[in-house]
């Protein structure tokens, strides 16, 4: 991890966030070691997503979004790298990464209002994934800004439950110049 790689900080709302993608051994206690490094230095973890990355389930990837108003994140990254269970860390910023987040929300709505909810969903490419009596559960996967916008507009309805997964991210793939048609446009405009 070079210091230059740490320069990219991402503004989400009015708070500066850093996104770290950390590859770790999938062993008990690893998450608490990683999280402990942040808490010991007074950093608040804004969101955290973790799951195995390979079939053998030997490794997991942790995507951590940290509130970081100041520079000492370099120090945390340096210390994180020293954890024996940590294989690699990359500090990602919006321009070099594909970021996605999943939102699930249950919305109470009369039959008449339900069509407004569905209209909002279709505008964002969100889906209705569950339907109950006077209630819908909708799902949106997208870049954090899009999810933020969807959540804001959804609040005009009576949201009874809402859950966001936190960010997951991967580095953007390289493309040879002029080869866009060959590689395809896999992720849409937000890539």
């Amino acid at each position: 991890m070079t210091p230059e790689a740490l320069e990219g900080a991402t503004a989400r709302g009015d708070v500066i966030h850093h996104v770290l993608s950390v590859l770790v051994e999938n062993k008990s206690g690893v998450l608490s070691r990683v999280a402990g490094l942040f808490s010991r230095r007074g950093f608040n973890i804004y969101s955290l997503a973790v799951a195995p990355t390979d079939e053998s389930r030997r490794f997991s990837r942790i995507t951590i979004v940290v509130d970081a108003a100041s520079a000492p994140l370099d120090q945390v990254v340096g210390q994180l790298d020293k954890l024996v269970n940590v294989l690699s860390i990359s500090h990602v910023n919006e321009s070099s990464v594909v970021e996605r987040e999943l939102l699930l929300a249950s919305v109470a709505a009369t039959t008449k209002r339900q069509s407004d909810v569905v209209a909002l969903c279709s505008a964002f490419g969100a889906q209705v994934v569950d339907v109950g009596t006077g209630e819908l559960t909708v799902m949106l996967a997208g870049p954090p800004d899009t999810v933020d916008g969807f959540e804001k507009l959804l609040s005009q309805f009576e949201v009874t439950q809402l859950h966001r997964t936190g960010l997951v991210a991967l580095p953007k793939l390289r493309r040879a110049a002029g080869a866009a048609t060959e590689t395809g446009d896999a992720g849409g405009k937000d890539n």
Partner: protein
């Protein structure tokens, strides 16, 4: 071959070359203590687990080999937390084996249960909770590998009782087969960085070699002497590096920092190139950081990447082993013309002459001067004597007034500042180096924290010698209250009468001596040096008002160093 987990653990400790371990048994570790009866490994039975940890540290610091401590679950394990934190701060290779309640009981608040891997996660280099006896040989091999490679440090292996009791099929892992995909301490130095460092050093007019404990860990004392010869530069050795460069060497300015020599502290402040070798810019060295070495370009050599830029951003960063780095810098310097340093040395010699280490002479009717006791100990001890200390004034006087001539002769608690370190650490050092004289220079406050380990020393035939600089006070705290709290002494007076240290020593099977008069200092030391069948404790009654100088007051820059009052106000 089928073994129990306990047998496999002890056999693994033998396989990695363990010659001694320090410990105290209890319920959860009982299965592991059974095969110890048949093992070649010497076991030293301590009186408190903190003693076991510090003994293992003292052993490691004196020998360079990892120290091993073994404790039971719960309170046994929590009692070794301080040594783990201490070893973590001072990068000492330490392996602690702790018992744990049976796997099925973990999380039930079982008797003597404590989540010790959770407790120690932040103060160990790594730790393991063993879930399968079959894993034990690999984990033990990995633990010693992690503790001793890269930047050394403490590790802990937590072994549930049922794991120790269950059967496994014995094997010994191939070197490198440690199942540590995230751990690779190997570092390769960038030749361009080495060249940049050599350019800076060769062109420097006022260079200083700022030597830290990493030089000792890297066994780089020999290479350092060559670097000193090739550059002609002055050398300062931090509290953790005393002994890495001979105090008798004319290029040695002594210790930098809060209680460093005037020349060492001021040389750094005026340096144009500061070569930090295995040092970490600790606050006790730098003083107020924004005023530290303000004119210096910094070359930082350290094997831990996280140390680079942590406190001071270096101009040249060499991430790697100190000995490799120094050797490569020497190679690069051989083709460069190194600047003459006559002007620099005339300035340095002037500072040394004007502001030496001094103390007021003893006056009749007064208690002993602690500095004269340290000088007498130094002058009447055989070459190669190992000195261990606790933390406080006595530690600073020992560091200032002893003359360290070789590596691994100074055993102290630097980073954590653990009072009570001296006695157990001295015992560990003596166990590791039985042919050396080992003196613990201790304070009366520190002594009362861990003195019971002198029973261990007597019973296990570890004849250390202890000099208590007894001023009846928590002396360093008293000094701060005198200087910075208007002489309002709050809870620093211990007692002038109690305990009777000589009687206490005798009660523990040691020889106890009390010295009040200067005439008795040397005879008592010579008597102590002549006894080698049991520990000796000398209670030197010293002056409570004596303060450690020089001193950089807390929150000040090193330019504001205060020298001994008899030398007036210092001006470079």
């Amino acid at each position: 071959m089928e073994l129990t987990g306990a047998q496999a653990l002890v056999k693994s400790l033998e396989m990695v070359g363990t010659e001694v371990m320090f410990g105290l048994p209890g319920g959860a570790i009982l299965p592991v203590y059974d095969p110890i009866v048949d093992s070649s490994i010497r076991h030293i039975l301590v009186r408190h687990e903190q003693g076991a940890g510090h003994m293992a540290e003292g052993y490691a610091l004196a020998t360079g080999r990892p120290g091993v401590a073994i404790v039971t679950s719960g309170p046994g394990a929590t009692n070794v937390v301080t040594p783990l934190a201490n070893a973590n701060m001072d990068s000492t290779p330490l392996v602690v084996i702790s018992g744990q309640v049976p796997s099925g009981s973990i999380g039930t608040d079982a008797f003597q249960e404590c989540d010790i891997t959770g407790v120690t996660a932040g103060i160990t280099k790594h730790n393991w909770l063993v879930t399968d006896a079959q894993e034990l040989p690999r984990i033990v091999a990995a633990a010693f590998h992690v503790a001793t490679t890269g930047r050394p440090g403490p590790v802990l292996i937590d072994v549930p009782k049922n794991v120790a009791q269950s059967l496994m099929t014995w094997y010994w892992p191939e070197p490198g087969d440690y199942d540590l995909p995230g751990y690779d301490p190997a570092r390769t130095l960038d030749t361009a960085d080495v060249a940049a460092a050599a350019d800076l050093i060769a062109a420097a007019n006022r260079p200083v070699l700022y030597v830290g404990g990493g030089v000792l860990k890297a066994r780089a004392a020999g290479a350092l002497r060559e670097l000193a010869a090739a550059t002609g530069a002055p050398v300062v050795t931090t509290l953790m590096a005393r002994g890495a460069f001979p105090d008798s060497h004319p290029q040695h300015l002594g210790m930098p920092g809060m209680h460093g020599t005037y020349a060492a502290v001021t040389a750094i402040q005026h340096a144009d190139v500061l070569v930090a070798l295995g040092a970490r810019f600790d606050d006790r060295v730098t003083g107020r950081i924004d005023g530290f070495a303000p004119r210096a370009k910094v070359i930082h050599v350290d094997i831990d990447p996280a140390e680079h830029g942590k406190v001071r951003t270096p101009e040249v960063s060499l991430v790697g082993d100190c000995r490799d780095a120094i050797t490569q810098i020497l190679g690069a310097l051989s083709s460069r013309r190194v600047q003459g340093l006559e002007d620099w040395w005339s300035t340095l010699h002037d500072w040394q002459a004007r502001y030496p280490l001094v103390y007021d002479a003893w006056e009749p009717g007064h208690p002993l001067r602690p500095e004269m006791v340290v000088e007498a100990l130094r002058d009447h001890s055989p070459p190669g004597t190992i000195v261990a200390s606790g933390v406080g004034q006595h530690q600073m006087w020992a560091s200032q007034y002893w003359r360290f001539e070789e590596p691994r002769t100074w055993i102290n608690s630097g980073g954590l500042g653990t009072m009570g370190f001296a006695i157990p650490a001295a015992i560990g050092a003596k166990v590791g180096c039985p042919d050396r004289t080992v003196w613990a220079i201790d304070g009366d406050g520190c002594f009362q924290m861990t003195a019971q380990e002198l029973v261990t020393a007597r019973i296990d035939r570890v004849p250390i010698k202890v000099a208590i600089l007894n001023n009846s006070y928590l002396g360093m705290v008293r000094q701060w209250q005198e200087m910075f709290y208007d002489e309002r002494y709050s809870e620093v007076h211990l007692s002038h009468e109690i305990p009777n240290f000589a009687l206490w020593a005798e009660a523990m099977g040691c020889v106890g001596i009390r010295v009040d008069s200067p005439d008795d200092v040397v005879p008592a030391i010579e008597k102590a040096n002549s006894i080698d069948d049991r520990p000796v404790v000398i209670d030197f009654r010293t002056d409570q008002s004596e303060k450690v100088f020089p001193m950089v007051p807390s929150g000040c820059t090193n330019d504001e160093i205060v020298v001994h009052p008899s030398l007036g106000v210092a001006h470079p």
